[in-house]
Symmetry: C2
Subunit: 479 residues, 2 copies
């Protein structure tokens, strides 16, 4: 297959330098650009289009489950942020502070939201009076700021786009069910739309969200065998409600504090897509999220009938809901092939005079490079089927990577060695003590990813301290 | 018709105190709430749902005309903002300034974007090299901050939601066409979706956007006869391109500066909807933007078959694309009627045992209060037709308000008197001098709204200075 060598050569090989490969893909696929402020990125049209598709898919799932979108202010008065002690301790060190409005110095400084629990709580206090006002099931799409010292495209921004769900419930049971419902929506979305298999579990106390009673997570394994925390769902109990004095009159006519959750995913999911599916030719997009699912490249497009035939394919595929683009620019077909491979378009259709004569076209799959002839009259069934097959293939490959790089260890030394030699998720028992979790970080370089919902019995004791241990933990090196 | 008097009594009569009526509607219809920071508001679910529908409609029009969405950082370094002299002079006095990141004082302070021309220009400089890179047709949905001294829900926020289009073109002609294209999209959307008739025209130099060569506007008249600037489209020439040193190699192989536009509408459109269509019972929503187009209130819902019949109507209306909600809560029908009237739901269907027996339902229109029986088997055609009729009725009423309160004046004194006695748009000739525009403000309390594209000849001279005048201007009191 002809390729524009300059374009392909300019990407680092992923096995040589995964970090550089990742940055190359982000830039060469035109997903993102740097701005003049360190750690603040520009989402370019193609990168933003992926986010728009993520939003569309998730927003529909949120609404189906009764959630409503709202928009809170982006600024939080310092005094409001301080109302919940654990929360402010976690976030204050990375807040950006507004001190002046116009030419005047503010009486109190405001931080740009790093997350909005405090703002939602202040509003909830005003709108929740009775059990009839519950549950409140809110979600917000917005950007948040965290003044991080290091940054990487999509994975760690000072400003990033996300959604944050915030809900209030009459009972602890209902709130706990909500955290699981939303975690399951994230897991379903990751697996069935992004083709990213997940490990579902609970965070340890050390790793949970500032101010939460419990944090649940979906963890994914990247191509380089590092972990990406891809979505979290938090149960707050009534801690914030007490700190903010939020009460409601129950059916028993008594005052109660409601129970709270929050949950979120962000544009770091795009980083996850890149690092799960990408290859040395660039981005590989799962078909269900790809802004362009099929690109049509006319061959010998100056010949009579070619562009008309290609346009006919565009119209027919659009009619069956396929996101399709024709590139009839004057660039060479080889250049176009490389360009859309770099951009990870799942399938490419080539059609030229000979194909038209034979009533067929050539379809090339981005995931495995296979090319096949497809009869033109089969197009409306063949292409959607192929897109499903590509999704399944990507998922299977990622699931294999996850399964093959998850190892049981029976000692800290073995865990360390497995991580160093093989990488991936190392599963061990754990007694539950913070000291042993810290030791795993200090001696084996790994943090706890989660206590998986699906538990296994590996040993009877903690591999660090030797005390009895009933829980199994996944450890890894995380982005 | 039975009503919950407490609910209805709590709204101020619009002819008694329009300002208070407006605030009452914003709060009672649960569109918006106040936050702890002056001038920063909370968009509640019902208010945000209107914005989501506005976004959906406009975003589709932007994409149809080739625009792509992007997302730029929310912070602008002070040095970047200062690159275009007129621009910074206009915006610096109302910027919110970030001076600290985490615990560290920043070397340079950053302002939270009041608008993003400077950020787009910095990016354009990096991505525009050749005529093949043009046009760049970008749009951004985001929030912006302007540290205003006064505030009103939707009309003047310190933080508000908007879209800002930013485009770059190879020729001045193309850029000028773009400003008109987008202004026409705004006008079409306002008239055909929001049922708000517009006056299209050009702003005077005094009223144009900071840094623009020309600003075009769509001006609407509110129920109280004041003007609402509802959308603007700016032509920048190559001024920013020169300030930011953006160049491209043309087909002639020479370096050129590209020509730029920007255009935007914001959540103030929601204020416009309220003040154009609302009445003493609350909000009246144009059907094409209403989150709920039809509410179904079952009557005697405990009787067998009523809820099933109501649910059947829900399913059938959903199937033909109507946004419908059934309220089968245990509140009294009268309470429900008042509630959905307050929220401006365009049509209400009542269905009870007798209706079911007769194969009919009662449909009440929010705009004119008319009630009619509709045969159940006609529902799929009758309801969409009624929604179109409501749209047409609202538009017609607003167009009548606009036409009846637009007056020609031949002297400054007459203009002042007409504004004081009648209100509305006062049209006069104008010589083009700033001094005469200032005099109209100082002596008659009116600003120029626009120089309408549709010009009329009223006199030969300027009513202020008596010098020859070729242009007709609309004057008014604006929100």
């Amino acid at each position: 297959m002809a390729k524009d060598q300059r374009q392909v050569d300019s990407i680092t090989n992923m096995d040589v330098d995964f970090t550089q490969w990742y940055t190359d893909v982000c830039k060469k696929a035109e997903l993102i650009d740097y701005s003049s402020i360190k750690g603040m990125f520009i989402y370019r049209p193609y990168g933003y289009a992926i986010w728009e598709n993520i939003q569309k898919e998730l927003d529909a799932r949120f609404k189906e489950t009764g959630h409503e979108n709202v928009y809170m202010p982006m600024l939080i008065p310092e005094s409001l942020l301080q109302k919940e002690k654990d929360h402010v301790e976690g976030f204050a060190p990375e807040c950006a502070w507004v001190t002046h409005g116009g030419t005047e110095k503010l009486e109190e400084r405001y931080c740009i939201r790093p997350t909005s629990e405090t703002l939602f709580c202040e509003h909830f206090k005003g709108v929740i009076q009775s059990h009839r006002d519950l549950p409140k099931l809110y979600n917000q799409w917005c950007s948040v700021l965290r003044w991080e010292k290091t940054s990487r495209p999509f994975l760690r921004h000072r400003e990033f786009l996300w959604q944050e769900g915030h809900t209030m419930h009459a009972t602890a049971q209902e709130a706990k069910e909500e955290t699981q419902r939303m975690l399951n929506i994230y897991a379903d979305f990751l697996e069935n739309v992004l083709a990213m298999p997940v490990v579902k579990g609970q965070k340890t106390d050390k790793e949970k969200f500032n101010g939460a009673e419990a944090t649940y997570t979906v963890e994914c394994m990247m191509h380089d065998k590092k972990a990406l925390q891809s979505g979290t769902s938090h149960y707050f109990g009534d801690g914030f409600a007490k700190a903010f004095d939020i009460t409601f009159t129950g059916k028993d006519n008594q005052l109660h504090h409601p129970f709270q959750t929050s949950w979120g995913v962000s544009t770091r999911m795009i980083g996850g897509i890149i690092m799960t599916h990408g290859d040395d030719n660039g981005l590989v997009l799962p078909p269900r999220i790809a802004p362009i699912q099929v690109v049509i490249v006319p061959v010998a497009q100056h010949k009579p009938g070619v562009l008309e035939a290609a346009q006919d394919l565009v119209d027919r595929l659009k009619a069956v809901g396929v996101r399709v683009k024709m590139d009839d620019s004057d660039k060479a077909p080889g250049w176009k092939f490389a360009e859309y491979e770099m951009k990870g378009v799942p399938a490419r259709i080539e059609i030229g005079p000979k194909d038209i004569e034979k009533g067929q076209c050539v379809v090339a799959r981005r995931d495995n490079g296979e090319k096949a002839f497809v009869a033109l009259d089969q197009l409306e069934t063949a292409i959607p089927e192929m897109l499903d097959a590509i999704h399944a293939g990507l998922y299977e490959k990622a699931a294999k990577n996850l399964a093959e790089h998850t190892y049981a260890a029976h000692s800290l030394e073995e865990a360390k060695q497995l991580q160093e030699e093989k990488g991936g998720f190392i599963k061990t028992m754990w007694c539950g003590d913070l000291a042993c979790e810290v030791a795993m970080k200090e001696k084996a370089g790994m943090t706890s990813r989660c206590i998986p919902f699906t538990q296994e019995h590996i040993d009877d004791v903690c591999p660090v301290c030797g005390k009895p241990a009933a829980k199994m933990v996944y450890w890894g090196i995380a982005y």
